[in-house]
């Protein structure tokens, strides 16, 4: 084979490899839509997005779980973002220069801890604590939010750290040169300059919190009703899918796929939002 045609062939093969992600995404979207079609056809959107989940009576409402997903994710961000941002500032501004690498490693390790392990920790330690303190069952939105906060910290920290480090050093130098303190420089110069990156970091953290399954499943409940407090059991979209997919059939199974479709669309909306905010393709994937 001549080297020209070999080049041509190799280029085509590599192109196919690159197109696998596109094809994969298309397949995921297609099959989620296809499998959730029976639910939309037989139960109808009004039923699917109602607040009652009771398959025995033909009620397949996912509102409770959608609310569960959004509240736990919001709680996780609320607890995690301040910690993650101060950690990012700590790692770029405050920490002694020599120990920065060590602390960064600590954050990376947190990113690598499997979610099932964090869930197990939540189940064996966090939930009993909350149970003792609140006198309730212990599992619920509070426990899930705390676990999710731990999970979003590495994501938000790493990306905001990158954003802060990408601010040209001359910005900070100029600010310091006119007599601003470190904090004034950070607050008025660095943070505004890094804002798009930090915003993207928070949105990606939100994506991680919305999609998290195992860790939340071990501390959330389970119950298919709105929680009456932060420490009463409920469900999120992901945990509901996880718990019931094994033993459901027909419209019930299809409505679980509809929840998967909602999650998928939510995730893709967040991706578009990040692209919008940060003005271009962002760093995807798990933070390493």
């Amino acid at each position: 084979m001549s080297s020209i045609s070999r080049e041509w062939l190799i280029k085509r093969i590599l192109l196919v490899a690159a197109m696998v992600v596109v094809l994969g995404l298309a397949m995921v979207v297609y099959f989620m839509a296809k499998e959730s079609l029976p639910a939309f056809r037989e139960a109808g959107p009004a039923n699917l997005f109602s607040a009652t989940w009771s398959p025995r009576d033909g009620r397949y409402g996912m509102l409770v779980f959608l609310v569960g997903t959004l509240t736990t994710a919001a709680g996780g961000l609320l607890l995690g973002t301040p910690l993650a941002l101060s950690l990012a500032l700590f790692l770029t501004q405050v920490a002694p220069r020599r120990s920065r690498a060590l602390f960064s490693r600590g954050v990376e390790i947190l990113a690598g801890i499997p979610s099932i392990v964090l869930g197990w920790l939540g189940f064996t330690m966090l939930v009993p604590w909350i149970r003792k303190l609140s006198g309730s069952s212990g599992s619920g939105i509070l426990a899930a939010s705390i676990i999710l906060a731990v999970m979003v910290i590495p994501t938000i920290t790493a990306i905001s750290k990158d954003a802060l480090e990408a601010v040209p050093a001359s910005y900070a130098q100029a600010s310091l040169a006119v007599g601003a303190t470190r904090w004034q420089t950070t607050w008025r110069v660095l943070l505004p300059a890094a804002r798009p990156g930090i915003l993207a970091a928070v949105i990606l953290g939100l994506g991680r919190a919305v999609g998290e399954t195992m860790a939340v499943a071990m501390v959330i409940g389970p119950a298919s009703v709105f929680p009456t407090s932060l420490t009463t059991p409920t469900h999120t979209l992901t945990t509901k899918i996880l718990m019931e997919m094994g033993e459901s059939t027909g419209v019930q199974r299809s409505s679980l796929f509809a929840m998967g479709l909602v999650l998928l669309l939510l995730a893709m909306a967040l991706v578009l939002l990040v692209r919008r905010v940060s003005g271009g393709p962002f760093k995807y994937g798990v933070v390493e």
């Binding site: 801890i113 392990v117 197990w120 601003a180 004034q184 399954t213 997919m245």
Partner: protein, 369 residues
């Protein structure tokens, strides 16, 4: 605000400074204003400035406010000092806040690792547990089939995801220009990486387990995890490939290499440390993944699954099994804690190994990226 508008309204008259009368705001006034603002001094109240009846009259004294009809320089100095003091204080407070919040976050890391290892490491490192047969209805079972499942699954997945990911990365950085196609691929990778793992799980169940009729099997799981990990592997490989200096490519091309020969002989060898790091970290993610595995591979097995077409039970999925069906295994708590500790230890080791390998390979090649 400038001198021209100074007399137009009551607001401006109040804010006007003595200096405004003679020839507008000089630079000193501007500086004073800035400093006052920085110091948080409310211009109307603090007595640093006068009212509209500025010329010659004494300013009305307010209770609790030091009468300040000082010279201009003094006022500037005072405001500056006040601003500096406040800024210094804010700096201190902020530093303290950052230190304490970061200490909290880092101690959470230490706590998580410490508790998991404390609870399970003893179990995890005993050979009878690690290499033992799992038991149901009886205590003292081991996790050997689960350990094998995890590594088997990781190996199968890597076999697919590394060629695909590196190939895609090479295409994106070496062959494709910026165009509609690359944008499409990037969007695909971004979106795929954001898809929740449980969605991958039920997708794999429908497509690989049921539609392709693979059943609950290692292969079905590996295909699912390939899709799940592809964006990340692609990303790390692309970073590694892009970090190879252009001069390497130019040298190879100048010697008459084709594009592919350049990639094969000059780019990929240099990018290898980065690609290896990505692959090792990918192993960590595969053995830790459970949501995408439960409905494609399985939760519990008695025997080591030697064929990729057999159901298996990676450790992560087995922890979930212990959590939900714990009643079947009397010492489920011990088993799950042991598995959690072993998984954590594995991930920590892989994390260290990834850095070490990258460093070692780089050193041997005498090349720093």
């Amino acid at each position: 605000m400038n001198a021209g508008t100074a007399g137009n309204g009551p607001r401006h008259t109040v804010l006007r400074r003595p200096g405004a009368r003679d020839g507008g705001f000089g630079e000193g006034d501007e500086a004073l204003r800035v400093m006052e603002r920085a110091a948080g001094v409310d211009e109307g109240k603090a007595g640093l400035t006068e009212g509209s009846a500025g010329q010659g009259e004494k300013p009305a004294q307010r209770p609790g406010v030091k009468p300040l009809y000082l010279g201009r320089k003094d006022r500037i100095a005072e405001a500056a000092e006040k601003a500096a003091r406040r800024a210094f204080l804010a700096d201190r407070v902020a530093r303290l806040g950052i230190w304490s919040l970061s200490a909290l976050a880092l101690s959470v890391v230490a706590l998580v690792i410490g508790v998991i290892l404390w609870n399970g490491l003893g179990t995890a490192l005993s050979p009878s547990f690690l290499f033992g047969k799992p038991e149901a209805m009886r205590e003292g079972g081991g996790i050997w089939p689960m350990v094998v499942s995890s590594f088997y699954l990781a190996a199968l997945t890597l076999l697919m995801v590394i060629p695909l990911g590196v190939g895609a990365a090479v295409y994106m950085s070496e062959f494709a220009g910026e165009g509609r196609l690359t944008r499409l691929v990037r969007f695909g990778a971004d979106s795929l990486s954001a898809v929740p793992s449980v969605v991958f799980g039920i997708f794999g169940m429908v497509v690989f387990v049921i539609y392709l009729d693979l059943g609950y099997s290692l292969l079905a799981g590996a295909l699912t995890l390939t899709l799940l990990n592809l964006p990340t592997v692609m990303r790390s490989a692309e970073e590694a490939v892009r970090s190879v200096p252009v001069s390497y490519r130019e040298a190879a091309l100048a010697l008459g290499c084709t594009r592919w020969e350049t990639v094969k002989r000059a780019v990929l060898p240099v990018a290898m440390p980065g690609i290896t790091t990505g692959a090792i970290l990918c192993v960590g993610r595969i053995v830790g993944e459970s949501a995408a595995v439960i409905y494609t591979v399985g939760l519990f097995v008695r025997k080591v699954p030697w064929s990729p077409l057999r159901p298996a039970a990676p450790m992560a999925a087995n922890i979930w099994h212990m959590y939900t069906e714990g009643a079947l295994v009397p010492d489920w708590f011990r088993v799950a804690s042991g598995e959690a500790a072993f998984l954590l230890l594995l991930v920590l080791t892989l994390n260290l190994a990834a850095r070490w390998v990258a460093g070692a390979v780089r050193k041997r090649m005498g090349y720093r990226v």
